[in-house]
Amino acid sequence: MLDSIEPADIHAAARARAAVLPLDDLNPADPQGFVDDTVGYVFERLRREDPVHRSHSPIPGIDTYWSVTRYKDIMQVDSSHSIYSSENGITLMDFPPDDEQKLRMFIAMDQPKHDEQRKAVNPIVAPANLNNWQNLIRERTVNVLESLPRNETFNWVDKVSIELTTYMLATLFDFPLQDRRLLTHWSDMATSNKLTNPDAPEPEVRMAELRKMLEYFTRLWNERINAPPSTDLVSMLAHGPATRNMGPAEYMGNLVLLIVGGNDTTRNSMTGGLLALHEHPQEMAKLRANPALVDSLVPEIIRWQTPLAYMRRSALVDTELGGKQIRKGDKLAMWYLSGNRDESAIPEPNRFIVDRERPRQHLSFGFGIHRCVGNRLAELQLKILWEELLVRFKKIDVVGEPTRIRSSFVRGFSHLPVRIPG
């Protein structure tokens, strides 16, 4: 019976399969490897035997792609933006040209347009502005933590991770707080994909929901454009010279980028961090003994979780990578998740270590011109969360297995049962 299979059995079987399959048959983009959290065995073998690997997916629209699995090769692709383009999108799925589902956003643009649009949103997540927000983030984090149930099992993903990241996002957009769960809903819609997850909504339903998002945000845009410039993101986009003339498709694309970027990522690091500390009790003990280690804990959580498992690039010219001939037009997945476990770049990569020597040296934010614009905000949110958790709760018990999301792009959780003793 299916439900009698233990996670340990699934892992043993996946490890054995990854070791014996012909190289050609290894397909790290198979979402099952993310549901089971077994894709690491595939990456281990690819890094060793075929670090730049021609992979094939049976999912239409993904088809054939290069898997780049070593840290240094990923760094090379990510920082060579005149060779590897983002214009065809950042996920492996190809859409026909002009398909409405293909969103226009600056993460999926090349220079110079990328730089202009990015500069318009950069100030809101820059250090000077973050200083202004610290107190508000802390206050909201404390409120959420104080309201958690005691002595009863609850879903950490919903009550902590989603609640905190959605709160933060609503703050960034100056979005009506009572409607904030709409942001979570739209974020989930934006990343849903019927082709890779049978439980996902139909493409028409997905687009209809995203159009509702656009309508809602168009209303906010119109309010803000008629008011003096303010420090929220919508106002910045509406008044910024590089963004004020965006068409609806581009506005929608950039909203999706900021909502997903500020939501799905930190949300899953908030869950993944707790799970990692639960699985490494000696590291939790170190942290309890010395809470100042939160500073290195945070980047270690972000490395460990790698909430976006890859980014896609498309070759603009014929080129060579790791001894392989890449043809113009080929698509590549830079598997950050694999690079973050590469022993040739990171000492003891399969251990979660809260006081790691160089914890910031990881690939989770990407490198080059598309490096995560909200990285400092993400780190600040996680830092405040852990500071407040440590002073508030002597114990946080993970009381069951996590449920992971069926996606090879967003590496995350839908459920983690947790109990806090009263």
């Binding site: 100030p123 820059a126 250090p127 000077a128 080059g368 011109i369 990285n375 400092r376």
Partner: protein, 106 residues
Amino acid sequence: MPRVTFIAFAGGARTVEAPVGTTLMRAATDNRVPGIDGDCGGNCACATCHVYVDPAWWERLGVHAAGEKDMLNLVAELRGNSRLACQITLTEDLNGLVVNLPEAQH
């Protein structure tokens, strides 16, 4: 060995020595100078070793490295004397170099 001085955003200076051939970023991180992160390890790929070069030294540093200006576009407050410390290699000629640090790396 060349000596270089980092002036923190909040004031206060740190002077360190580093061998010729070391990058300015490495000189900071090897000596744990706060305010220089160097997340990418010196690949000109993250812009977290941003410094403002003292005008007296600007000419001696030579031109920006390939790709450096692209990455400088990511920093919080770009100025005319902005450089990435990982793209500055120390020489005897740079003995006495002074740079200012931004409020924080981004």
